[in-house]
């Protein structure tokens, strides 16, 4: 999976041997602010299977290595840990998602970055796996780096194992998210 925005880019390679476990490698960067590469272990702590809906709650954690660029042109590079919580609830029509992640240096416990992403989406029509699925999603991001909250209206298209999110935030910056499932 890859995500690209002027203020935030990430590439994730996740392998899920079981539906309740995802392991992988994540590289993230916020230009001129920080960059990191970390191992992620995602554990599905709770799943709610309802007659026409599903809810999930994940715990995310893993070690990594990263750099924080300070405002006085110095930088700190060290081992870090990345922890987070993620939840979602979806029906075939409604999609909601929340994810909080935080990265800190091991030694100093200094904060590198925290990020809360909320998404709410709606499917205008129902489609099968072999048809083009479309969603209209509003993504909202809070981080420690920017005072302003970032809102990105997004169109999600997925067909079989391919998913693409195309968004344009309220500052006019494009956001692209691409995912392939095997």
């Amino acid at each position: 999976m890859g995500s690209s925005h002027q203020k935030f880019q990430s590439v994730e390679l996740i392998y899920s041997p079981k539906y309740w476990l995802g392991t992988g490698l994540i590289t993230e960067r916020s230009p001129d602010s920080w960059e990191s590469t970390s191992i992620q272990i995602g554990y599905l702590a709770k799943r709610w299977n309802l007659p026409a809906a599903q809810g999930n709650f994940y715990i995310l954690a893993g070690p990594g290595y990263g750099t924080r660029f300070n405002q006085d042109d110095t930088k700190v590079t060290d081992l870090l840990y990345r922890v987070g919580l993620q939840g979602d609830y979806e029906t075939r029509r409604i999609y909601t998602f929340a994810k909080y992640t935080e990265q800190r240096f091991f030694n100093t416990n200094g904060l590198i970055n925290n990020r809360l992403e909320l998404r709410a989406g709606y499917a205008p029509y129902l489609a099968k796996f072999t048809e083009l699925n479309s969603w209209v999603i509003l993504k909202t991001v809070f981080t420690n780096e920017f005072k302003d909250v970032n809102y990105t209206p997004t169109v999600r298209l997925f067909y079989k194992n391919f998913l693409v999110d195309i968004g344009l935030d309220l500052d006019g910056e494009a956001q692209l998210n691409f995912m392939v499932r095997h």
């Binding site: 309740w20 299977n49 599903q54 129902l126 796996f129």
Partner: protein, 107 residues
């Protein structure tokens, strides 16, 4: 001549009767070996990806001929191969391995 006619008649009727019995036997076999259909009710199938995973997982089973997933009714329908069956006890762990909740197999 009369004997020949009697013999030919006997042969004709016996072959007709034999053919009929063959047809009956074949029909019986078809009844015995008819395809079993399992309709599995599940909960939690909220996205098309679940549909794809369910189809792939059940197709891996040697007893399954074809799979149809109806997301509106939350039903996974299995057409089993002739003479094959799949018990509820074997279906339940397959559904659970998909992260879905097994409800029942509709009778």
């Amino acid at each position: 001549m009369k004997q020949i006619v009697i013999i030919l008649s006997a042969l004709f009727f016996s072959s007709f009767s034999y053919g009929k019995s063959i047809n009956n036997t074949t029909a019986d076999k078809k009844v015995e070996a008819k395809q079993v259909i399992k309709k599995i009710k599940v909960h939690g199938m909220a996205c098309p990806m679940c549909q794809s995973k369910a189809e792939s997982k059940f197709k891996e089973n040697s007893a399954v001929n074809s799979v149809n997933v109806d997301m509106d009714k939350m039903l996974i329908t299995l057409n089993l191969k002739e003479g094959m069956d799949l018990s509820d006890e074997k279906i339940k762990p397959i559904v659970n391995s998909l992260g879905l909740t097994f409800v029942n197999v509709e009778k």
